[in-house]
């Protein structure tokens, strides 16, 4: 039987107890920690690397959204909230599930089933096995690179997204910030391109120039450009110029 490692983030002690009472009917769920505010939760999640979190939106100081923004690799998240319809509607594509307090036991079981389905989804390929073992023996410390299945949380103005790295086509510098291109969206994140680059899996992303990082899987073709530079055409038709120095590197990389 699979075991789902979960962390509860909730400021009210009684609400945490209430949630644990619901969890009792799901022996596959293993609550490995509890946090009553965002800062404690951040520490706990980066240390324990849970498969999922139950996250209250409304908490003193920072709220649930702040926590997601702080995390580099967002675990599967189920929001628990009393009445925050507005906040929940800001999510695109139902990336996150949510439970309304007091929580209905059947609705809770549905949410857990969805979590299981999500956990099973990337397991289709053989890399999952290695990934799981890596996570199990604690190799995935915060300093290591993210994987293509890592989720990043993006909040731009009123809208929120939870995006898998494999879905991102391009990162582009915008002043001190970075624009993320995925699907038809291009929100801003408040990190520099260099900060982003440090955490990206190298086999998947390539620094094309000072301005851009491309996802290799989204490149359709590469042509010679002038001055020894290369020009990449993306699947969606847009073009990315690769700087001279990086062009040499790119050729090296692909010739291997």
């Amino acid at each position: 039987m699979i075991s789902i490692k979960a962390i509860i983030v909730e400021d009210s002690r009684l609400a945490r107890n209430e949630l644990k009472e619901l969890v009792k009917k799901h022996p596959e769920l293993n609550i490995i920690g509890e946090a009553e505010n965002v800062d404690d939760a951040y520490e706990l999640i980066t240390r324990e690397r849970p498969d999922m979190i139950f996250l209250d939106i409304n908490m003193p100081g920072k709220d649930g959204f702040d926590l997601l923004e702080m995390l580099d690799d967002v675990p599967i998240t189920v929001f628990t909230t009393a009445f925050d319809e507005y906040a929940i509607k800001s999510f695109e594509y139902n990336a996150l599930d949510y439970l309304l307090k007091p929580i209905n036991q059947n609705r809770f079981a549905d949410a857990i089933n969805k979590v299981k389905a999500k956990m099973a989804a990337p397991a289709s390929a053989d890399d999952t096995a290695t990934q799981n073992t890596a996570s199990d023996i604690g190799l995935r410390t915060p300093e290591t690179h993210l994987t293509e299945n890592s989720q990043i949380f993006i909040k731009d103005g009123e809208k929120c997204w939870l995006v898998k790295l494999s879905e991102v086509q391009l990162f582009e510098i915008v002043g001190n910030y970075t624009r993320v291109y995925f699907r038809d969206c291009k929100p801003l994140i408040y990190k520099s391109l260099n900060q982003v680059e440090e955490r990206l899996p190298q086999h998947l992303f390539f620094r094309a120039s000072r301005q851009q990082i491309v996802n290799l899987q989204y490149i359709k073709s590469v042509d010679n450009w002038f001055n020894g530079k290369l020009k990449a055409t993306m699947l969606n038709g847009s073009e990315v110029e690769i700087s001279r120095r990086q062009s040499a590197l790119f050729k090296d990389m692909l010739s291997l």
Binding site: S12, R13, L14, A15, R16, N17, E18, E21, N37, D39, N58, P60, G61, A82, F83, D84, L100, K101, P102, I103
Partner: protein
């Protein structure tokens, strides 16, 4: 409405005064005297009578403005008393006397101009004209006061309508703010958790939550309630909040027993407490305290709610709630009640002062 500044009024006043004097004075004199006068004097005397009527009318109009000025400046139709009536009569008769004094030289001048002779009436004969002059002014004043009272009644109707709509509006707003769904559902969820560890306290909490619901459902149409009833709801709210915040919420209350029966608008203290818990203590990781005091000072009921934290005006809902409190206090007490919200050290202090 200010008649003194209305062109329409002045037009009709001049028309009214001159038509009245010409109709009641000149016409009569003309019809009576024509038969008894020598032919050669007829035209001239007709002109004199006409100028006499016009002079009487125009002078009356000019002086009536004095009374009108007094009425518009000093007479409050919402608050007429004996003293006011006495003063108005005094002004009225003084103006009539001024009229009486200034009219004769003017008529004398007019007579000299048309007929080259002076007025040869004795003082007593002149006095017999006084009732006629008084009547002219009395008729005028009757019309003016009728207009003024009509306007006043309209104004009262309007402002009452306005008051009713804004009261209803603010009641609706409080209703919205009152059953805060976030609070409701969180409380129900917490009680569900509490049942597992303390059944009797859970039962108490359900009672308190019911009382709060009942209070918010029934007290909406009421304009004022005694402070002690409001404090009961505050107590319920705090006790229920304590199962959410536990050690993170400290509450202290100091109420002068003399204030308990003072009538206040419902939900105002409750809204201040809710704001203090939600936006003050609720925003602090380590929690904080809320202190409520009620006292009498200089014939004013002073209610103060202080909470740990800092003022944060970014949140629209807080501002709306505070505007609502201000508006309701203003509607009920005019500008005699005050509301202030200040930052004092590590505390945010909301203060209401209501006249007794």
């Amino acid at each position: 409405m200010n008649l003194l500044k209305s062109y329409k009024y002045h037009f009709f006043a001049i028309l009214g005064f001159t038509l009245y004097t010409i109709a009641s004075l000149t016409m009569e004199k003309l019809s009576y005297n024509l038969d008894h006068l020598a032919e050669h004097k007829r035209t001239l005397i007709q002109w004199y009578f006409l100028s006499e009527g016009l002079t009487c009318g125009l002078l009356a109009y000019a002086l009536s403005n004095l009374i009108l000025w007094y009425i518009e400046k000093y007479v409050d139709f919402g608050n007429i008393n004996k003293r006011g009536v006495l003063w108005l009569s005094l002004v009225f008769f003084n103006v009539v006397i001024i009229y009486f004094i200034t009219l004769w030289p003017l008529l004398d001048f007019s007579l000299h101009y048309f007929l080259n002779e002076g007025i040869k009436l004795s003082f007593v004969t002149r006095l017999t004209n006084l009732p006629f002059f008084t009547t002219v002014f009395a008729i005028w004043m009757f019309i003016v006061i009728a207009i003024k009272i009509y306007n006043y009644i309209n104004q009262v109707k309007m402002s009452r309508l306005e008051l009713e709509t804004s009261l209803r509006e603010s009641q609706l707003n409080t209703l919205k703010g009152q059953i805060n769904p976030h609070f409701m559902f969180n409380s129900l969820n917490n009680i569900r958790g509490l049942i597992l560890e303390d059944a009797s306290r859970s039962r108490d909490m359900i009672t308190r939550l019911s009382e709060m619901l009942r209070y918010s459902l029934t007290k909406n149409g009421v304009n004022t309630i005694p402070l002690k009833e409001e404090l009961q709801t505050v107590d319920n709210y705090i006790e229920i909040s304590k199962i959410q915040f536990e050690d993170r919420l400290q509450f202290s209350i100091h109420v002068n027993p003399e204030t308990l029966n003072i009538a206040i608008p419902p939900m105002i203290v409750q809204m201040l407490i809710e704001n203090a818990v939600k936006h003050g203590v609720g925003k602090l990781k380590e929690g904080g305290s809320v202190n409520l005091t009620a006292d009498i000072d200089n014939n004013f009921l002073q209610i103060e709610v202080a909470n740990s934290g800092v003022l944060n005006f970014e949140e629209g809902s807080t501002r709306l709630g505070l505007e609502n409190i201000k508006k309701r206090l203003g509607l009920i007490f005019g500008n005699k009640a005050t509301f202030s919200l200040i930052e004092n050290g590590n505390f945010v202090v909301a203060k209401i002062s209501i006249p007794l």
